[in-house]
């Protein structure tokens, strides 16, 4: 069924030189506890569900092929329902009461920032599995998703070249939207472009008639849509109904929110995004991965990039633990410091950058057509998460525990 995958496991096992007798001895050891916090109810449930599924698939595969260091994995999933206070409560419960060996999860950047100070008080590793606005320099956190230098530094120049220098921004009003908009301002300035309008929308707002007219008044060449959640996604339907008809770019649409599957065409026509994963990737590795996923979850509407990253997170954890031969964060970080923390993911080989503990990704620019068909416009190859390292974050030397943005840079020491 999945011979390529099994072969990989076998090779990995052989590389580590684990002998059969040791595996037997270890089989009696208690399972590794993986704490997972993902929203499977509430406003973001449709995105969170694939994250839970990706984690379940990875755990099942890893357990079937002998576990991690011979130990089975026990997945403990709690549903914070999109509530940041519940993220903190459940985070404490997993870390302090269940004493999980690793914590994974969080959808919005607000939930991640709510969780991070709690994780920082422990020595438990934390994997954040979304693409996000970037900048977190924290030794406890390993980021599996794409960041602005992989998404905006590719997308925005392409949009400016293809459609023009005037952009209008619609962003969700919380840290993700605000910082992403800041990235857009910086990159547009470097390109000599102009931000003709910025509108921050409170979460939960679903009516956009005024926004649509503000856009038409500002006459942009294209839109940057970083609106978040089911309610705000109604923008696309309403803009299409009003015949707004502008090219759009985003770091979260299509591959993350699968709006092109949820809305009737042509609402998402002319949308562009840069992504390390989208379900339409058709390389042999990706096809094999999609087949396994749909075999286990036949009703999945779309394997989004968060779900995909959540799946990778467990394999990355496995690779780190097995290379370090330890489940301690400090030992795992020694492996990361060598620059050799890599896995063969369905998108290709991805590695953790030692300075920032963010992941390199193969990035592609995709566009959506009038029938919601997805086309790859440009393949950027592998892009490193270089920005944090360039501005002076180096987790191999110093743990900043901070989130940097273009306007909030580390102090020069």
């Amino acid at each position: 069924m999945n011979s390529g995958h099994k072969l990989r496991m076998v090779l990995l096992g052989a590389m580590l030189g684990t002998v059969a007798s040791m595996n037997l001895a270890r089989a009696a050891e208690p399972p590794l506890k993986v704490g997972l916090l993902e929203d499977v109810s509430g406003d973001l449930a449709f995105m969170g569900m694939p994250k839970l599924h990706g984690s379940q698939l990875a755990v099942e595969e890893i357990n079937k092929s002998g576990g991690i260091l011979g130990r089975q994995i026990e997945l403990i999933h709690l549903d914070p329902q999109g509530d940041n206070a519940r993220y903190q409560e459940f985070g404490r419960r997993l870390l302090n009461r269940d004493k999980v060996d690793v914590l994974i999860g969080g959808i919005t950047s607000a939930s991640r920032e709510a969780l991070r100070p709690i994780v920082d008080r422990t020595t438990t590793p934390y994997f954040y599995t979304n693409q996000y606005e970037g900048g977190v320099c924290d030794a406890s956190m390993i980021s599996m998703g794409a960041v602005p230098e992989q998404q905006f530094s590719t997308l925005i120049p392409w949009m400016v070249e293809k459609f023009g220098k005037k952009v209008y921004v619609i962003a969700a009003d919380y840290n993700f939207g605000q910082i992403s908009a800041e990235w857009n301002r910086k990159i547009m300035k470097d390109l000599g472009g102009e931000v003709v309008g910025e509108e921050f929308i409170p979460l939960g707002v679903s009516q956009f008639a005024q926004t649509i007219q503000n856009i038409q008044k500002a006459k942009p060449d294209w839109l940057l849509t970083i609106n978040v959640g089911a309610a705000q996604d109604s923008f696309f339907e309403q803009a299409a109904a009003a015949n707004l008809n502008l090219p759009m770019g985003s770091s979260i649409k299509v591959m993350l929110g699968f709006e092109h599957k949820r809305f009737k065409p042509p609402a998402l026509n002319n949308m562009h995004a840069t992504a390390n994963w989208f379900e339409e990737i058709d390389t042999p590795e990706a096809t094999e991965f999609k087949k396994r996923w749909h075999a286990k979850f036949p009703d999945e509407l779309y394997i989004n990039d968060m779900g995909y990253n959540a799946y990778n997170a467990l394999y990355m954890y496995k690779a780190l633990v097995e290379k370090a031969k330890s489940i301690k964060l400090e030992d795992m970080r020694k492996v990361i410091a060598t620059g050799d923390a890599c896995i063969d993911a369905p998108e290709g080989k991805v590695c953790i950058d030692p300075k920032s503990q963010h992941t390199s990704h193969r990035m592609r620019l995709i566009s959506v057509g009038p029938k919601h068909e997805v086309k790859v416009e440009k393949d950027y190859g592998t892009i490193q998460p270089y920005w944090l390292g360039e501005i002076g974050c180096d987790l191999t030397k110093k743990n900043d525990k901070d989130q940097y943005t273009p306007s909030h840079l580390p102090k020069k020491s």
Binding site: E199, Q213, S234, N243, N245, K264
Partner: protein, 288 residues
Amino acid sequence: MSAELFSLFYQFADVFAFLILSAAGLAIVFGMMGVINMAHGEFIMCGAYVTVGLVNLGVPLAIAQILAAVTAGLIGVLVEFLVVRRFYKRPLDSLLATWGLSLIVTQSMLLIVGSAVRGIGTPEGSFAIGGYTFSTYRLVLFGCAVAVLAGLYIIFMKTRFGVIARATMQNAAMAKALGARTGRIYAISFGIGTGLAGLCGALYAPTMTLIPTMGATFVVESFVTVVIGGANVLLGTAPAAVFLAMIRMALNASYGQIIGQIGMLVAVILIIRVLPEGLSSVLVRRGR
């Protein structure tokens, strides 16, 4: 210039329609009957899901919307009979019971239908004035909002049922003594209220993302409109919606959605402070 003027009217009509359609059902259930219906958003969601389901089965949109409203109304009658009926003398308990109902319904929908349903798309049609383009369907929504107000006026002011219903809401014991079947009146009124909530969901279904918690985006606006409107559905809710729509439209246009939302809620706080009985208390007094 005329484009700007029309744009102002269009934006006002859009917010007004949203407020009226989301609040009309609640105005009856909460405003008149005094039931704090926390499941109001779920009846809206019900209308939206039934509409999309029927359209996917090949039913024309307009008929699907009417059937969805009727479905929500019938479910409302059933809920009144099974749950709400027991709480007319205990309004705070009705809050808990309907809230529990709302939680059960959203979670069940999540489990049964899944976390997201594919939308059906807004009916085609847009027109241009000056540099702006507008969706025709949004004006249909405005028309429906006005029709709902007119329909409510006729039902509650011009029919025998309306007279008996208003009498029952004012003094149930006296109405009963005069031979009104108050139990049935309550059930029908509740059904009309939830049917209007279903109509709201049905009308907005083509323009929105369908998720089990979608009702929540309507609930704040609907409660706010009904509360500042006061007890009289027609003399309260309609002017409340006009007033809030003006404030929200002006602030949205000049300062964006955040200020628009904050401004509307600040206005609500001020009105409740000055007129605890809502706008209709002033209007009704003037009318006398």
